[in-house]
Subunit: 204 residues, 2 copies
DNA sequence: CGTGTTCTTGACCAGTTGGTCAAAAAACGA
DNA sequence: TCGTTTTTTGACCAACTGGTCAAGAACACG
């Protein structure tokens, strides 16, 4: 697997299977807790075959994380300084909540990495995340200054959106248990709750 | 180490050192990612000596978790149905935030366990956590019914308190990076922000 | 077809893992 | 003090870890 760009059908199929399986395993076990055997088994490949497509366990993890960062920050990028402030923020909350519902593994992968001190992510965090958050924090600060939303600390507002939405993915086991069984879907009520919360918080 | 109750000075000192070291390691690496060698080194003991005090790696982890649950739920137990509702809840928020500040390792240990699907905790979760949360959710529901706080979903309110406060421990690396450097203490501003948030959310 | 390339795998390796054990070293108690 | 108990450890083990390699199987294509 020295070639980079030209992917045959087989290459595409297998790298996808590997990354999907690795997402399963890494998101549950963390980097150190995951094993190549688990990933290989989940991908339906042999271990040497994994290492034909990726040079190392770490390479799989890094690939996963860098793909994730883009996806993960996308909703924040869409925060429009010219839109209606409260509506913009509520839309952001909802998008993030949908991501927790539809991509819980990605959320847990990210959480695991941060919990461990972000050893493989601190670079990206400073280069991709920080500038974006700074930029959006300024927009929020401008909204506050203009009296269009209530007086809130921009960064902490962003933290609260992240924590409240990602909680439903990362602590999913706990949430479902406390709401009385795995059959019930927590998300419709979560959406209502968060919408009310941020409406009351932000409306001037 | 067959005797259970009668702890000599040495036993107390060493089991404490082991549990403290294990908390460090488990909270960062998760159960599978942690090794007995890491724990032993951090505790200043040899690996066989660890296993003189605890029968297995899992036993150390289980001991930590069961000790933690008690501590962790303590602030919620203090929620007083006869107190002033908003004040009671704000006090709970503040206690939880203080725990994130003063016991971040415990918070991360818990987060790690839940992230992994709570394999070693699902029992305790159902037996200790669920009844307590059910009880306190009823108190909150009664406050809502009496019009003493705004109309919020009790369980989701509790989730939001947990997620918002624990975020400052679990995602500490990210928080500090985005606030501009590890030197600044995020907690004073976090306290102000959360107090305002829950005041606006709960005041009828 | 045939042949060159891509893909797959069984066997293997060195380092690490959780855990054992017997014997030595400390600490204790009379 | 000396014998007993508690504590500590070096040597060791089988299972597992990430990773290698050479050889075979499947595929592409003229």
């Amino acid at each position: 697997m020295t070639m980079r760009q030209p992917k045959t059908r087989i290459q595409k199929k297998n790298t996808d299977a590997i990354l999907d399986a690795a997402l399963d395993v890494f998101s549950r076990q963390g980097f150190r807790g995951a094993t190549l055997d688990q990933i290989a088994k989940a991908a339906g490949l042999s271990k040497p075959n994994l290492l034909y497509y990726f040079p190392s366990k770490e390479a799989i993890h890094v690939t996963l994380l860098s793909q994730l960062m883009d996806l993960w920050l996308d909703p924040l990028r869409h925060l429009d300084p010219d839109g209606d402030p409260v509506k913009e923020l509520l839309t952001y909350v909802q998008r993030k909540l949908e991501m927790s519902r539809d991509m819980p593994r990605e959320s847990r992968l990210f959480a695991n990495e941060i919990l461990q001190g972000a050893p493989r992510l601190s670079g990206t965090l400073g280069e991709a995340l920080k500038p974006l958050v700074d930029e959006k924090a300024e927009i929020i600060a401008a909204w506050v200054a203009a009296g269009k939303i209530a007086d809130v600390h921009p960064q902490h507002l962003i933290f609260s959106i992240w924590s409240l939405t990602q909680h439903y993915a990362d602590f999913d086991v706990q949430v479902r248990m406390l709401l009385g069984g795995p059959e019930a879907d927590p998300f419709p009520e979560a959406e209502r709750y968060l919408k009310a919360l941020f409406t009351r918080l932000l409306t001037p």
